[in-house]
Structures are given as structure tokens and as C-alpha cells.
Symmetry: C2
Subunit: 321 residues, 2 copies
């Protein structure tokens, strides 16, 4: 059975693994991401994590990276989590160090590919994946092909607009799905409520710590009116956004991962109601399920990309070697 | 050079053509659509139009049809323009009459495929096509493959939501792109303005006829304040919707067809401003152009589908025979 190197490179940790063609993780090693250090120090950390899992039998590597990136040129463009990494030709630099064919892939695309190959989306030809946590991203498979777009930046779902006069998002745009439905947006709405003199239960639930999506959810469970409203709107607006994806992709299955999956019915009931309310009949009834791979989705998606790497049909086939 | 039969079946006319593999229309014939008649009479009309252009050298046929349809089963599901055609297995019925391999394809998908193969999108691997007229539809090509979805209904862009509390659309949903930016939506906004005692210039421009998108546009050109606002909002909201598509598809080119292309700068300037305002930098700068094929886009897309039909790789290749 073939083996490949898979890496999930985040703003906090670099997680490397050796994975076989059936998706079994044979070895794994994690090092902290030197996020504010130079590219050279970052490459050393990547190489260290990868070296710890290599046994010489791997024939390809893929790295799930933060965007924006350019998968055609193989470069990281300007990842906000890695301020020093501007226009870094990561594929070439790693190939020189690893002596393995190496590909980069957008984080959310990797997670989508992981769920499609080894997780909740396997067996489908068409799947939409959403990751909703602090931010919101996504990936889509159509006709058995991961849709990456011209530079690997497709399915930037979190910054699609659900109201051009809506609240400002962390990205500077107005009314993004992420501004309503992700942890950061929920936190922002909570601070606004507190500034208006509402949401006493939110302050209480935070218990002196910084307010997070989770503390707002806790306040909602105790019945705080402002928190209930913020969580319900967050779920509702994610549902409106997913309804848009149903109309656009005519997909077989929607898979949802990320921390928001732990939000409970105060988030997910308004989500399902919004989908019913905003979806035309021929697009309704698509199964919507939570991720099976959890935090390993990106890592296993990188493995899937590395496995495909040796195939002749990188962008046109779902055949696994 | 191979030849195929292409048909564009609309609510008003059935247009049939014999087309060669380079997209040249060698013969064409149009008959009225017997829209309110039985399926049998409709099939007779289709056969009549096709017979008039056949010369025996064709080896495949494709029909651009109104949705909702099911391209996997080869059936029209419930096209609103053809009330009698519910769950009609059109592929099988036509194959029996024509003795040619026959495929159906959604109208807007066909127009997208036509522009991609023979028109403004040729040479790209990634293209988004929008048709904006009385209604709004679309089609997308990614990695050289038309995205049709599980049943051929993908890119129902007109019914993606831009404001869950927005105006009601003809489809019954709220805040659809189509409710703002298509002819029917513009007309509805104009009637509302007149009911409020505004838009005297719209009534004047209609000159006793029914109000249309064109008469509202004429009123806007004379400076009628309500008409100016309606047309500007229509263009702006189409821009917000297209910005969403830029984030989702990371595409190379956007091609726009349909009657709205004749709306002029009062529609298209707010459109371009909205795109600039609602698009993140890495997704900006994508060329946005008008259709090259105009009313022939659907017909030539059906030809492209029929040409691909003989290929071994229907959904995974852009190779033309």
C-alpha cells in the first residue's frame, strides 16, 4: 500500500503525518508554528515535523495551508496567520528539502477533500463541505472533482454576502456569512449587545474571560435574550448561505465541520428552518450531516491530494491509485 | 467534420439546427412551441423542427430544455412553460423518434457551455456564465468541466438570496437576485413605486403598454427618480450576486448574456461598483464581458453537448472530438 506525507499547517501548530492509501494515519508529529518568525525558521519547523514521521517509503507530500495561496504557482500569497510568508514558493522550497513531489492545497479545500475521500462524503460525486468555527470556509466536489478554481481559492463561502447593508465582517466587507455565523461574528454581535446595555447573561457566562462563541452559547442556554437572538441569527444566516450553495451546486450531500457543530439546537434548529424557507423544492431534501473526520479532515485531505499527485489526471479524476 | 443536431426548446419557439464540430450552423428551422398542448403534440413539433434540418450525416442530438429537469434520468420534471410536461422521459422518447443518441441539458447550462466552447469563454479552464433577462440563470465551468450537479440543475443563481428579509420573488422566496435584477423584478418594483404615487415617468415611458424592464430603463434615462433608483439597485444587486460567485468559483472570466446586457450604464455602472465593493482583493480583477453568441448561445451549447456525447469522457474532459 502506498504511503504519503500529509501536513496541516495552521497558525498555531504544524501537524505532520504519514498516511496510507486507505486513509490510515501510521505516524504523526506536531510542532508549534513559528508564526511570527522568518520563512527559513518556518521551513525548519515544517521539515522537523515531517522528518519525525518519514520512514522512506513515502512517494509524495501535500501541505494544507492557509490562504490566500496560488496552487498553480505553488506559492503562499499572504496568509494573515504567517505575516512573514508573502509570495513564498513553498512547493519548490519543500521539494528541495524533502526530495518528494509536493503540492499545497487550501485548508478548507483539504478538509473537503478529506471528508469526500475518507469521511462523510465518500461515495458521492457531488458534495459541499462547510467548515464553521472562528471563521467560515468551504470546499466543493462536483462530478468527482474538487473544485479548486484558477489558483486554489474556490469556495470562499465565508465571505459571500447575505445582505449588502449587513454588519461589517472582519475582512472589511459587509454582510458576509462569517460576520453572522462564525465565532468571531457572534463575539462581535455580543459586544454590540453589551454596549447597548443588553446581554448581562453573556458577561456572566464569560466569567471574566474574553467573550467567545462558546460563552455566548452558554448564555443562550441560560435564556439570556440577547444571546438567544445572536445564536439564532447566526444559525439562520448560515442556513441562508447553505441554501444558496444548494441552488448553485445541485449537490448530493452537505457536510459541516468545525467548532460550530457543537453549538446545539439553538443554532442548528434555526439553520434547518432557514434552509427549508430559502430553498426551492427541486433543491430541497439534500442530506446535511456533520463531519466524520473532525480535526483530521485537513490532514487526511492533504493525504488525498498527495495520493492523487502521482495520478496522471490531477484535476480530472477521482481515481485513487 | 462531424455534424450534430442542436435544439433550443423555449416556451415560445423550438429552434433546431444542424451544427458542425467547429460551431458553424449549417441549417436551422424554427417552429412555435405548442406550450399548452399535450406531450405528443409537443414531440411532433420537436420532430418537425429537427426533420427540417437533418441531412443524415448527424450522429448525435442534444436539446436545451427549461428546468427543472433531471439529466441523469433524461426527463423534464415540471417546466413551468410547458404545463403538460411533467416527468416526461424526453431523451428516450426522442431517441425512439430520431434514432440518434440524445441528451437533454438545462437552458442556462447550455448557454454557458456554448459560450465556453465557441464564444466569450473559449480558452479558459474556469468560467462563470450569467444570463439576465426576464429571469436570471447561470452556468459554470471549473477545471474544464461544465458543473451540472446531480441532476443538471446547478447554478440556479437567480434564486440565491441576497437578503433574507428582501422583496418577494416570483418563485416565492425572499430577496433572490432575480427579484432585484431581472426584468420581472424591475417591473414589480416599478408597480410598487407607482402604487406609492412615484414613477410618473415610468407610466409615461410605457405609453399605455404593460410596464417592462425596458420601459423602466427608458424612464430612468429621462431622469425619473424612482426609475433611476430601481435600475441602479437592480444593477447593484446583480453585482453583489456576481461577487459571491467570484468568491465561490475563483474563476477566470465572467460572461454575461441576456436582455439586461442592453440596459446601459445606469444598470452596469452600479453593477461594477458593487463588485468592487463586495469582492476581496485576491478575487478581484476577473474580466467580466458580455456574451459573444447572443441568442445562439443555448443552441450552440446544445451542439457542444451533442458533440461531447460521443466522447468517452462526458463529465471529465473538455476535449472536442
Amino acid at each position: 500500500v502506498r504511503q504519503v506525507i500529509a501536513v496541516d499547517m495552521g497558525g498555531t501548530n504544524i501537524r505532520a503525518a504519514r498516511v496510507d492509501a486507505t486513509g490510515v494515519i501510521l505516524a504523526r508529529h506536531t510542532v508549534p508554528t513559528p508564526a511570527s518568525a522568518s520563512v527559513e525558521i518556518g521551513l525548519d519547523a515544517l521539515t522537523e515535523a515531517i522528518s519525525a514521521v518519514r520512514d522512506g517509503s513515502e512517494d509524495a507530500a501535500a501541505i494544507a495551508c492557509p490562504g490566500p495561496l496560488d496552487t498553480v504557482r505553488g506559492t503562499l500569497v499572504s496568509p494573515p496567520q504567517l505575516p512573514a510568508w508573502r509570495d513564498v514558493p513553498l512547493e519548490r522550497l519543500l521539494e528541495e528539502r524533502l526530495l518528494l513531489p509536493t503540492h499545497i492545497i487550501n485548508h478548507a479545500s483539504a478538509a473537503a477533500l478529506g471528508e469526500w475521500t475518507f469521511g462523510a462524503g465518500r461515495g458521492t460525486a457531488h458534495m459541499v463541505y462547510i467548515i464553521a468555527g472562528t471563521g467560515i470556509g468551504g470546499g466543493a466536489v462536483a462530478h468527482g472533482t474538487l473544485i479548486e478554481g484558477r489558483a486554489g481559492m474556490a469556495l470562499e463561502f465565508g465571505h459571500t454576502c447575505l445582505d449588502p447593508h449587513g454588519p461589517i465582517c472582519g475582512c472589511g466587507l459587509l454582510g458576509c456569512v462569517e460576520a453572522y455565523s462564525a465565532g468571531a461574528g457572534i463575539t462581535r454581535r455580543a459586544h454590540e449587545a453589551i454596549a447597548r446595555g443588553e446581554g448581562a447573561g453573556i458577561t456572566e457566562a464569560a466569567a471574566g474571560e474574553a467573550i467567545t462563541g462558546e460563552s455566548v452559547a452558554r448564555a443562550a442556554r441560560t435564556g439570556d435574550a440577547a444571546a438567544v437572538q445572536i445564536i439564532a441569527t447566526a444559525g439562520e444566516m448560515l442556513g441562508v448561505g447553505v441554501a444558496n450553495l444548494l441552488h448553485l451546486f445541485d449537490t448530493e450531500k452537505v457536510v459541516i465541520g468545525g467548532g460550530m457543530t457543537r453549538m446545539g439546537p439553538r443554532y442548528w434548529e434555526p439553520f434547518m428552518i432557514a434552509i427549508a424557507r430559502h430553498t426551492l423544492l427541486p433543491y430541497a431534501g439534500v442530506p446535511i450531516v456533520f463531519s466524520e473526520l473532525g480535526d483530521n479532515a485537513g490532514l487526511l485531505g492533504a493525504a488525498s491530494r498527495a495520493l492523487i499527485l502521482r495520478s496522471d489526471a490531477l484535476h480530472t479524476s477521482n481515481a485513487m491509485p
